[in-house]
């Protein structure tokens, strides 16, 4: 799942504590003479240390470099300023306007229709009312979670695994159900328990995330996937103390807690976004482009060439690495299908 400080902030309940997002459009002024090809990326929040948005920037920059296009970043201070940034972007007339996240659902269901000559791309969500000049990128996160589950199943000694997730929502179940299913595919007797952080600040409460992880380790769970955004570090601390192991989410978090993180459930936003931009520039516009394992849009660190040097403990288990790659090939080849909890 993506690490969204905005969500973390908004979920904070004591509004006093939640007053984070103050401002508005931090637009970088557009240049007067756009070159032949140009890409404008609009974020729903400041990029800052938001690893999800950082990947988005990386992908757009990579695509721009490959295409010889210019690249501009319009950072929105908070989601309410998106519409203004989209207007500014439309006036600059770039080749593609990219928006990241569901925060663009509303703007992108109206603006593309008003500007049929302009190409739009929405990453990680899709406006309901999709115009032909709007392309969308979505991910099969459940495939990556399944692979992580395979590793968990192979590596659990107690046969009990768990997930500490921020909230109990259908979308977040994409990191839970397939994780357990993957584990059972290699060790049918594995039991899986999810617990949710909840509380007043579900996306940024490491203390609660830790105590939930401790509840799990207290019951004998020895492998926990951390899908708690800002709370993940608390999960890592809990498994470190109990001798268990954890999984990170979205980006490589192994270095955050050396020796305690098996692997990460990754979403390669950069890869998928760059590919989608290139497709649009090549004339394949519109539609929903779904990126799963086959397209390299999601994955686990174990699939990387340098998995053994990644700092993730999965690198110490060559047989697990081999099995994961085999399961990946099976999924790509269609021999194994991963159930999507959202289609359930």
């Amino acid at each position: 799942m993506r690490i969204t400080p905005a969500l973390a902030g908004t979920a904070a309940l004591f509004a006093l504590a939640a007053c984070g997002g103050g401002g508005e459009a931090g637009t970088t002024p557009a240049s007067e003479n756009p070159p032949a090809k140009s890409i404008i990326l609009i974020t729903p929040n400041p990029v800052g240390t938001n690893s999800f948005l950082q990947l988005g920037v990386k992908g757009a920059e990579a695509a721009a470099k490959d295409l010889g296009a210019s690249f501009k970043l319009y950072e929105s201070k908070d989601p309410t300023s998106i519409a203004q940034n989209v207007d500014a972007a439309v006036r600059a007339k770039p080749t593609v306007i990219v928006g990241i996240s569901f925060s663009f659902d509303d703007v992108f269901s109206t603006v593309p229709k008003q500007h049929p000559g302009q190409q739009f791309l929405q990453v990680d969500s899709c406006a309901k009312d999709q115009a032909p000049n709007l392309a969308c990128v979505s991910f099969k996160e459940h495939e990556a979670a399944y692979l992580a589950g395979v590793e968990a199943g192979l590596l659990t000694a107690s046969g009990q695994i768990g997930v500490v997730a921020a909230l109990d929502t259908p979308f977040i179940h994409r990191w839970i159900d397939p994780f357990f299913a993957g584990a059972r595919s290699v060790k049918p007797e594995v039991t899986g328990t999810p617990l949710y952080v909840g509380g007043n600040n579900p996306f940024s409460d490491p203390a609660r995330a830790k105590s939930q992880a401790q509840t799990l380790t207290g019951r004998g769970v020895d492998v926990i996937a951390a899908a708690a955004s800002g709370g993940n570090q608390g999960v890592f601390e809990a498994v470190a103390a109990s001798g268990g192991k954890a999984f990170g989410v979205d980006v490589n978090q192994c270095a955050q807690s050396p020796g305690n993180v098996i692997d990460n459930i990754l979403k390669h936003v950069d890869v998928a976004e760059a590919a989608a931009i290139k497709e649009i520039v090549a004339g394949r516009t519109g539609g929903v482009k779904v990126y799963g394992l086959a397209e390299g849009g999601v994955g686990v660190t174990a699939l990387a060439e340098d998995a053994t040097a990644s700092g993730c403990t999965v690198g110490d288990n060559p047989e697990v690495l081999a099995k994961v790659r085999q399961v990946r090939d099976d999924i790509v080849a269609g021999k194994t299908t991963v159930a999507d909890p959202l289609q359930g």
Binding site: A11, L13, A15, A25, G26, T80, A83, D87, L342
Partner: protein, 368 residues
Amino acid sequence: MMSDRIRGLLIAWAVSIGAVVTALLASLVVVALAGSSPAEAAQALFDGAFGSTNRTAAMLAKAVPLTLAALGWVLAFSARRINVGLEGQILAGGAVAATIGLLVGGVPAALHLPLLVLGGIAGGALWAGIAAWLWVKRDVNEIIATLLLNLIMVQAVSWLVSGPLEEPTHTLGQTEPIAATARWPVLIPGTVLHWDLLLVPLLAVGLSFFLRGTTAGFRLRATGANPAFAAYSGIRTARVSALALVASGGIAGLAGASLIGATPQANMADNFSANYGFEGIVVALLARNSPLGCIPAAFLFASLKQGGGLLEARAGVPSGLVLVTQGLVIILVAGAGYLFERRRTRRVTAKAPSQPLPSEAPASDPTR
């Protein structure tokens, strides 16, 4: 007599403006200490709020819920009720408004928008009504009750947007946009400013007139100023105070309806109240509890909120600084007030204190 009043008002405004200027200067010193250029930061702050039609419109749009929340506080406070539950009442009003916007279909805008607005008012009033009932009938202090009700409503909204009202794909933790017929129309095309801006002068003038020019308003102020005397002169103080609390919640609920029906996304997400309920208190304080004063105070705070957006992007100053400025304004206004204002010694409570609870604790007595 009259000149005394004018002098008092002038001093009061001088204190507010002085506090704002001092807080801004202090923040710029922090910017300089952090190694950024204060001039650049000030320019970014100003441009962020007034640099273009879009930004000014966004600033004005932010001022609407701020003013409404502040007016809610003023109304309850006129009866010396401390409504720290505006945040929860905004959420409650917005939740009802969103439900109406989503589930009621096939009605013309002439009916749907009024329904949304009334639903918002009802939701906020109902949520405040629980606190009012607990206070009148069960002697539960309204500060703690409204605070607790905030917490409960946050969870309720969180449940709504990730459960029964979540959009069909169940991925976003928010509702679909409400029906177009239920939305406030846009005031300036291409901007985020909607016609709900009209509510600001309407309610501010209305509340000002109500408090100063009507019998009911007089009863309310009498209850707040001296409950024992008010009761002695035949005013049913408990009832008046409770109604003030309920009406206060209704105004906050109206702000909630605006945050649903007068935004570009026009849907409900987790914590859409975005702290407006607490910032409204600050606005009211800055306005020294004058309904008309809430308008300029809300514009000032909306400018800070809106302008803060450019701070990080352009001047490299973390936008947490805007919160620092707001916090300083509050502390300075609160602290400086005493230096200029003669201390009043009237008691607060409209009812005899029954528990050693906070608003009865002398040092927290807000009327002093």
